[in-house]
């Protein structure tokens, strides 16, 4: 009886069983050890690790740089999506494909490539150096690396929404007497805002945990250019598993919170788009 409430197609037990088993073995079992090890630490020791000045400095940098990178991507991602959807220019197909590169390029490669470009002798770094701007091995470098990693999120969230907007709506607004600027502010922008926010949070979440592209360009100086994942890595390399565990549980908690927020945002976006 209950089997039919689920649907008539066969394979419920097999597919669900396999899914849950595999999920448990590969994801949940390893992740639960993190909880277990954290619980073993005891509150005093836990607090000592997660509230240490070096840890706090790393959170501050991680949060700040991630937020900054996500904000840059929200603005420029919207712009790039707008240009890709609305305008025609030669080489557009190539540019459109290029947008996904930060997804496809292994992070270690992005890391060394960005370092090469933005180091004091690099293609861009050498022009910034005389202006007193140093990118590589400073917090600014972290920002650059995180901007690179998060680049496709906003563009790919906004692009389909922008493309699906009916030109009729804009025309209607224009006929009702709105100027182009008013059309943008009152019609286009509100329609695309949820998608932009979704892209922003995805980029932010990704940046918080990013390691590979940051490790090369940051220079890894404690208190100055050490992001939280890097600090975890350092503790691990020193076989300080307790310290690493405590920090990791803070990061994991932050990520889960963010994932939840993204989930809500996407639901909102879908509801706004009127899709089922």
């Amino acid at each position: 009886m209950s089997a039919t409430r689920r649907g008539v197609l066969p394979g419920f037990g097999l597919s669900t069983g396999l899914t849950v088993f595999w999920l448990g073995l590969v994801v949940l079992l390893p992740l639960s050890t993190l909880g277990l090890q954290t619980a073993r630490l005891g509150p005093a020791q836990l607090w000592q690790v997660i509230a240490s000045p070096r840890a706090v400095a790393s959170y501050r940098l991680s949060l700040g740089a991630s937020l900054g990178a996500a904000a840059i991507n929200a603005v420029f991602g919207f712009l790039v999506a707008w240009v890709l959807v609305r305008y025609r220019f030669p080489g557009k197909a190539l540019v459109d494909a290029l947008v996904d590169l930060p997804f496809a390029l292994p992070t270690a490669v992005s890391g060394i490539a960005l370092t090469a470009v933005y180091s004091p002798h690099g293609w861009v770094g050498r022009f910034l150096e005389p202006l007193g701007i140093r990118v590589a091995f400073t917090p600014l470098g972290v920002l650059v690396a995180l901007t690179f990693t998060g680049l496709p999120f906003v563009i790919r969230s906004v692009e389909p929404v922008l493309a699906d907007l009916e030109p009729d709506v804009e025309e209607a607004a224009a006929l009702l007497g709105a100027t182009r600027r008013q059309v943008f502010r009152r019609v286009l922008f509100p329609a695309v805002l949820p998608a932009t926010l979704t892209g922003f949070s995805l980029a932010f979440a990704r940046a918080l945990g990013e390691y590979g592209s940051v490790v090369f360009i940051s220079g890894n100086m404690p208190f100055r250019t050490e992001v939280a994942p890097l600090l975890v890595m350092t503790r691990l390399e020193q076989f300080d598993y307790a310290g690493a565990t405590a920090l990791a549980s803070v990061m994991l908690g932050a990520s889960l919170l963010l994932l939840f927020a993204v989930n809500r945002l996407q639901r909102w976006t879908r509801a706004r788009a009127g899709a089922p």
Binding site: G7, T19, L23, W82, A97, L105, P106, G209, Y211, P229
Partner: protein, 340 residues
């Protein structure tokens, strides 16, 4: 720059589109709710890449929705400048650095035994992780889209979980579980089983970080397809396995391939998680990205970039395959009897 208002292409209507088996521009990006789901997650403007005019570029000019030329040019320049600064230059830098000491040295860096060992291990890792996650993805997608049951939303969130976990933590939990001082470590050591700082650990970490890719592609696609074809097969007397192999699998093939491509790219390129578990034993537990790091840390920049250029090639191939598959998925046309 055709000044005729409303001139040029006629908007392809749903009814006409249905009749056209060709890669119609309108079917590249099915409207939401159309149920086509051809490119359920095909956000790229795939149409342009294959030379087919995309709907939006071929639609009639509509003066009320156009911006003045100076705004168009200004914004385009700004967008392209941003992309060049953050994406174009780094790519160029990889190639330039890789060949900075000539092609001979470039090839030598790739032929080094340790480089070859890294390539072999990367292929092996991807060869294990990708099929495993493909099988899981198919099972998960079937379960989640074909049945109603409680706890489905939770299951969906858990499937996505590895995307939200920092790669460093992904690697770390494997060390915590299987490492010499981990939960199962002592037992494993007693049985002569080495996982952390050995190849099994590298594979496990890779499976973890690439876990959701295939499932994430298949779930929205199967959701959009609905269950009618499977139900039809059921009333026609097909068994569960026959429904899966004769109806579902042929329908999802492009979507599945798409997921495999993305999963493979990440499996081959994963750095953070693998870095934690591998122990960096040269020639033994080093994957290509780890080998790049080692060379780079030894200030052997030309060799590091030479090996990195392999991964860049992988990324470019992945993007090309992605574009191609988005086009295939879209070009199959709107579903028959679409509810438009």
């Amino acid at each position: 720059m055709d000044p005729r208002p409303g001139g040029g292409a006629v908007k392809v209507t749903g009814a006409v589109r249905e009749q056209l088996p060709v890669a119609g521009p309108a079917s590249v990006r099915p409207p939401p709710g159309d149920g086509a789901g051809g490119g359920a997650r095909a956000p790229g403007a795939a149409g342009e890449a294959v030379g087919a005019p995309a709907e939006r570029s071929s639609r009639p000019r509509r003066p009320a929705t156009e911006d003045p030329a100076w705004i168009r040019r200004g914004l385009t320049a700004l967008a392209l400048g941003f992309l060049a600064l953050f994406v174009g230059l780094p790519v160029a830098a990889v190639l330039s650095e890789a060949f900075s000491k000539g092609a001979a040295l470039y090839l030598a860096a790739l032929r080094e035994p340790e480089a070859l060992a890294a390539i072999r291990l990367t292929l092996l890792t991807a060869g294990i992780a990708v099929p495993l996650n493909a099988a899981f993805g198919l099972a998960a997608a079937w379960s989640v889209t074909r049945f109603r049951y409680r706890g489905k939303d939770l299951l969906l969130s858990l499937i996505d979980l590895p995307f939200g976990v920092s790669p460093v933590i992904a690697g770390m939990v494997i060390v915590l579980l299987f490492g010499a001082r981990g939960l199962l470590g002592p037992w494993l050591v007693a049985h002569g089983c080495r996982i952390v700082f050995a190849i099994p650990g590298v594979v496990l970490a890779t499976v973890f970080v690439t876990f959701p890719f295939v499932a994430r592609e298949l779930i929205p696609f199967l959701e959009a397809q609905g269950t009618e074809e499977e139900e039809a097969a059921l009333t026609l007397g097909a068994s569960g396995w026959q429904i899966f192999t004769r109806v579902t699998l042929p329908n999802v093939r492009w979507s599945l391939l798409y997921g495999l491509v993305l999963c493979n790219a990440r499996a081959m390129g994963e750095f953070g998680a693998v870095s934690v578990v591998s122990g960096h034993v040269r020639g033994l537990t080093d994957t290509i990205p780890l080998h790049v790091e080692i060379l780079y840390d030894e200030y052997d920049f030309a060799a590091a970039f030479a090996v990195a250029s392999l991964l860049l090639l992988l990324a470019v191939l992945t993007l090309a395959a992605k574009q191609l598959l988005e086009w295939r998925a879209g070009g199959r046309g709107a579903p028959h009897g679409s509810r438009s």
